[in-house]
Amino acid sequence: MELGQMQGRLAEYTRSLYMEGILDAQFLQLQQLQDESNPDFVVEVVSLFFEDSEKLLNDIARALDQQSVDFKRVDAHVHQLKGSSASVGAQRVKDACVAFRNCCEEQNVEGCLRCLQQVKQEHYLVKNKLETLFRLEQQIVAAGGSVPMAEMTF
């Protein structure tokens, strides 16, 4: 594939991520923090996030599985997830977390389970998307080009 074309695709793809609300300005700021001294910063942060979040999701699922659900614990987990997703800029995960916390407050097991599904789904989506994004970037780097800074044109 032509390098320029790839770069174009990357830009297009990035834009679509922002447009769909999967990512927000926080991710952009993360990208800004990446520089020569710290070339894989974004990837590192994002992978940290996924590690973290998978663990948290498991915890949540386990907590909800119990006979008597400890909503406080669930809430703490969700809160954490929310914090980390916000830091990465995974907007839709964050939004889902907000809804999840509301359910926790109501002590609604059904709602919590539904929200968990929702969060998982969003989590999966953003994971996929970001992986694709990183793959694209890697391809560009491999092709000898530089990853253009995402231009926010929306």
């Binding site: 300005a25 926080q26 952009l28 700021q29 993360l30 800004q32 923090l33 710290n38 910063f41 590192e44 942060v45 940290l48 996030f49 973290d52 703490a76 809160h79 954490q80 929310k82 914090g83 980390s84 916000a86 830091s87 990465v88 800029g89 800074m149 995402a150 231009e151 926010m152 044109t153 929306f154």
Partner: protein, 1101 residues
């Protein structure tokens, strides 16, 4: 109205009819009978005369024997009786005796004469019988009756045959007839005759005399005819009618009653009453002609006329009444129409108002939405701007987009302001600010804009009163908005010349009384609206406050001007003066908003009339602002602040004030004139020579302003208008200086520390007495009160040369200055170069370094406001130190200009600080070194660099350089992100995974520090603390840290990071002893803000 005539007319008509009827009745019955009875009476009165002849004849007959009388007998016996009778019997005019034999004797009266007619011969005695029978006429003596005079013969009357004679003879009772008299007039006479023996005695009564008795009666319009029975007319009632009468009126005597007959003569109907009458025995007839219905017809006629008149009157009345009614009705109808129109109009107006209100509201809400999106846009543009490679086309485009978006936002804001004002929601946000600074900021902001067009924007200090009262409380933003709007208009519409901004303070008392009087006059008219009244009340209250002053501002330009008739409408919304606004754009909302804002601040705006021949417009407005209470400690603080700045910049670690640093801050209003200070002003020490300022400024207005200002301060000013004259002016000064200098003493330049202290103490004590009445101050006093005059220790004069670098070719100017310097042997001289910000002439490095002295000052901002004051303060009289030989002295002086270099500014000699940028700093605080750095470094608020993003970015990046920050967060992800953020800002970062770790690190740091003996230095400048952490959460950790650090007497700022927002969380955080709350995710902007906030907070304590 009509009823009255309808009732009245029949009433009146009936009355008149009755009158007519009565008159008719009376006329027909009473009237003629009354007349007739009167005639009867008259006739009766005459009736005794009838028998007089008979009676006389009997008396005479008895005295005479029955034989024929001879003449002598007649003469002696009869004649005297006759005479006697003539004299006694009334009306009698002729009396005579005829004998049958022809003897005859008669007396008669002819006028006043009494005559006798007789004949002495009988028919028989005369020889020739009857032929010789003649009558004689002779005068009679009235007394005796004797005849005298000559008897005149006259023709005899034959009467023997006369009927009356025969009748008298035959009739025992005598006879009466109508005969002609003897007298010359031959009047008709009634003859009453009777037989006497053989003769006849006759008495003649004149008809005329008797008929006058009848005719003398008033017949009320009727007339009387008298005639004898045989048809002789005696009295003719109406002239020339007797023939008519004769033919038409026949009197029948048979029944003796009158019978009326009518006849129309000369169009008058007469009723004739014919009755017999006996006059002296003569049977006669009288006819009474009474005009028939004469009265009646008169009444009738009058009635008609009256009726007619009445009708006319009534008709006129009705006509006028109808006319009146018509007019009234028409007027009423007109009024009704007007009323209806008014109501309609009012309804329409109300509807329009409602519509407009709704529109405004809808508009406002829509505008809000638009603004929100716009704000989003500008934010995004800003973000994008960071991304792009500086200098690329995209960057340029982005900047343009940014400008456009900001313009759009401004436009929208102005519209929003209008709607806000319309709705009445605009409120003043009162806070303290420095007015002088604000003015300077605004003017500086528009200076480059003006310079681009070749228009100079000048801030005129005027009387300096603004400096004195510069610390005021009011709505800074709105005042700035007003000034900006007026200035931008002025700059926009001025193509050549200058724009001057002036401001001064005046007392509110005048206005106060004015308003009070207004209020007295029209209390109920104006203030029906309770809200308006309340507004007024508050305003009144504001006016009563002695601290409230009236600040007057003038923006004066030399543009096209506004035609007089348009001046009023300029302040209406959406109105632009067509002729001048062409091609300039704008909504025309600006001045409307300005006016509303000015009114909101209890002021008014108007256009001041310029003198004839002067071009341009001069807007003047005034607002009420409260003057802040300035306590003397402020003064100290302010000075300390300046000192702090100086200290830091000199790189000295100690904060003790060094006496050399005596820049006077523009501390307006701090000190008032006292007697002592006044004396120093007006009677300077004789030894001291006034400083000399040489001004070479290209722009007329600025030159005039600077010169006036300095001269007001008592500074000697030489003005050079063209650069060619500079060297000659300088030469003259050199000459003078050198000449006089030989005699002057050179003294020490130093201030000792104690001297400084005492000076500052006095200045402080002076500030206490600040209640000097305003009115006693003239303009220069204001300025002088601001610029403390000190008596310099040096008697040598000081020359300050202020040169506009653009005034002429720069090398030429430099050369003349250098020559000038060389020429001065002992006089201190400093040069201030004024540079146009747009064209950096001096910046050519080579020239600058070789030709300029290191102590020269370059001012690249407009020369007014604080720059002007700083320059004035260079003069020894105003606190400046002289350029001495000592190195330290030099250093202290140069600090005036030696400020950290703006990366974008010149590399030449020292520059004056841009005081415009210091306006944002609250006054009451001492700045920490860091604050100073961050404050001076970016210079982003200077007009030139406004919106210059890369620079701002740069400043951000260096924001935390040299700082040590501890981050406590359990999540590796967040830790990583935060750390890289902080690194980017230049900080040194330490990590901890939970509260416990953080606490330990702090403890260790503190103990290490104390071991080293530098306990006051913090182990960490800031701690970023996540609140929810395992083992020890953020709250508890913070509490612990606060406890521990107490032992060391320090305070480490802690910034809390949570995923929560809201007041409750913040409260909890504050309770835990943390300083600031930031919500996740961490934003650089927020962090910067928080750090600034902490710096401010703790530097104040």
């Amino acid at each position: 109205m009509l009823l009255l005539p309808i009732l009245l007319i029949p009433c009146w008509y009936a009355m008149v009819n009755r009158v007519e009827h009565q008159v008719k009745n009376w006329n027909s019955n009473e009237f003629h009978s009354m007349l007739m009875s009167e005639i009867e009476n008259k006739a009766k009165f005459l009736s005794p005369i009838n028998s007089s002849a008979t009676n006389l004849a009997r008396i005479l007959g008895s005295s005479l024997n029955g034989t024929a009388l001879s003449f002598s007998e007649i003469e002696t016996k009869v004649a005297p009786v006759l005479f006697q009778e003539l004299s006694t019997i009334p009306y009698l005019s002729q009396i005579s005796y005829f004998g049958l034999d022809g003897l005859f004797f008669s007396y008669y009266t002819d006028g006043n004469q009494t005559l006798a007619m007789y004949t002495n011969s009988s028919f028989f005695s005369a020889p020739n019988g009857r032929e010789n029978y003649i009558w004689l006429m002779q005068d009679v003596d009235i007394e005796t009756g004797k005849l005298y005079g000559k008897a005149i013969e006259s023709r005899p009357w034959t009467m023997a045959n006369a009927s009356w004679f025969q009748e008298a003879l035959n009739n025992k009772h005598g006879s009466a007839s109508l005969e002609t008299g003897w007298n010359n007039a031959q009047d008709l006479l009634f003859l009453n005759s009777a037989r006497l023996n053989r003769g006849v005695l006759s008495l003649g009564f004149p008809v005329k005399t008797l008929t006058t008795i009848f005719t003398g009666v008033d017949y009320h319009g009727g007339s009387l005819y008298l005639a004898t029975q045989d048809g002789k007319m005696l009295v003719e009632g109406l002239p020339k009618t007797h023939t008519l009468l004769a033919s038409n009126v026949s009197c029948t005597m048979k029944d003796g009653t009158s019978r009326a007959s009518t006849l129309t003569i000369q169009e008058t109907e007469y009723t004739f009453y014919c009755l017999p009458l006996d006059i002296v025995g003569v049977q006669s007839v009288y006819v009474l002609a009474v005009p028939q219905n004469r009265l009646v017809s008169l009444v009738h006629k009058n009635k008609k006329v009256a009726l007619l008149l009445l009708l006319v009157v009534i008709a006129t009345m009705i006509g006028s009444f109808l006319g009146f009614v018509f007019i009234i009705v028409r007027a009423a109808r007109g009024e009704m129409h007007l009323c209806a129109a008014l109501i309609k109009q009012m309804e329409a107006t109300q509807q329009a108002e409602r519509k407009s209100m709704n529109k405004s509201l809808a508009f406002a809400s829509a505008s809000h939405d638009v603004r929100a999106s716009l704000a989003g846009l500008t934010g995004l543009i800003e973000i994008c701007y960071v991304e792009v490679i500086p200098g690329s086309e995209l960057a340029t485009n982005l900047r343009q987009m940014d400008t456009c978006a900001k313009d759009l936002l401004d436009l929208l804001n102005s519209i929003l302001d209008t709607s806000k004002i319309e709705v009445g929601k605009m409120l003043l946000e009162e806070d303290e600010f420095d007015l002088a600074q604000l003015l300077e900021d605004v003017v500086d902001l528009y200076h480059p804009v003006g310079m681009r067009k070749g228009v100079d924007v000048v801030l005129d200090p005027y009387d300096g009163s603004i400096l004195k009262f510069s610390q005021v409380k009011g709505d800074r933003g709105k005042l700035k908005q007003i000034l900006c709007n007026l200035l931008s208009n002025a700059v926009k519409f001025t193509s050549e010349g200058y724009v001057t901004v002036r401001a001064w303070v005046r007392k509110t008392s005048l206005q106060n009384t004015m308003i009070a009087s207004k209020r007295n006059c029209l209390p109920c008219l104006f203030y029906k609206n309770s809200q308006a009244y309340n507004d007024f009340e508050t305003m009144d209250a504001a006016l009563k406050d002695p601290n409230v002053m009236d600040f007057v501002f003038e923006v004066d330009d030399t543009g096209k001007g506004i035609p007089k008739e348009k001046q009023k409408s300029v302040f209406e919304n959406y109105v632009q003066v067509k002729e001048t606004a062409i091609g300039q754009g704008g909504t025309g909302l600006g001045l409307g908003i300005v006016q509303s804002l000015v009114r909101l601040m209890h002021g008014d705006i108007g256009i001041v009339d310029k003198e004839i021949g002067e071009e341009g417009t001069c807007f003047r407005f005034d607002v009420l602002l409260t003057i802040c209470e300035i306590v003397s400690c402020n003064n100290v603080e302010a000075e300390q602040l300046e000192m702090g700045v100086g200290t830091h910049l000199l790189g000295l670690s100690s904060q003790t004030p060094s006496p050399e640093m005596t820049i006077r801050t523009p501390s307006p209003g701090l000190c008032a004139r006292t007697a002592s200070s006044k004396s120093t002003i007006h009677s300077p020490s004789p030894k001291q020579k006034a400083s000399h300022v040489v001004l070479l400024i290209q722009d007329n207005e600025r030159r005039r302003m600077s010169r006036r200002f300095m001269e007001n301060l008592g500074i000697k000013v030489s003005v050079v208008k063209q650069w060619q004259h500079l060297s000659s002016t300088l030469e003259t000064i050199t000459h003078k200086q050198n000449h006089s200098h030989h005699n002057s003493l050179v003294k020490s330049y130093f201030y000792s520390p104690s001297e400084y202290l005492s000076r500052s103490a006095t200045s402080n004590s002076i500030t206490v007495e600040k209640d000097v009445p305003l009115s006693t101050m003239d303009g220069s006093d204001y300025i002088l009160s601001v610029f403390r005059r000190t008596t310099p220790r040096c008697a040598s004069s000081f020359i300050l040369v202020v040169i506009d670098a653009c005034a002429g070719p720069f090398p030429e100017l430099c050369r003349s200055v250098t020559e000038f310097r060389r020429g001065l042997n002992n006089t201190c001289c400093r040069v201030v170069w004024l540079e146009k910000p747009m064209m950096r002439i001096i910046n050519c490095k080579g020239i600058a370094e070789t030709m300029m002295e290191p102590n020269d000052i370059i001012i690249s901002k407009p020369f007014h406001g604080s720059r002007l004051y700083e320059v004035v303060r260079l003069l020894p009289e105003f606190g400046g130190t002289l350029l001495g030989n000592m190195g330290k002295m030099k250093e202290s002086l140069s600090q005036v200009g030696k400020m950290p270099r703006d990366p974008s500014s010149s590399q030449g000699p020292v520059e004056l600080p841009d005081h415009g940028s210091s306006s944002e700093i609250p006054r009451k605080k001492i700045l920490s070194p860091i604050e100073n750095l961050s404050h001076f470094k970016p210079k982003s608020r200077s007009p030139l660099n406004h919106g210059h993003l890369p620079q701002e970015q740069e400043s951000k990046e260096l924001f935390l350089s040299g700082k040590k920050v501890l981050v406590a967060d359990d999540q590796a992800l967040l830790r990583k992100v935060t750390v890289s953020r902080l690194l980017r800002l230049g900080a040194t970062v330490e990590l901890s995974e939970n509260g416990q770790e953080a606490l330990e690190l702090v403890c260790k740091g503190l103990s290490d520090q104390s071991k080293c003996g530098t306990s006051k230095i913090l182990p960490y400048d800031y701690i970023l603390m996540d609140c929810e952490m395992p083992i020890l959460d953020g709250y508890k950790a913070a509490e612990q840290i606060r406890k521990i650090e107490k032992h060391y007497g320090v305070h480490i700022p802690i910034i809390a990071l949570t995923g929560h927002t809201g007041g409750e969380e913040t409260k909890k955080i504050i309770e835990a002893g943390m300083d600031v709350h930031l919500s996740k995710p961490l934003e650089s902007e927020h962090l910067l803000e928080a750090i600034r906030y902490i710096d401010n907070k703790w530097s104040c304590v």
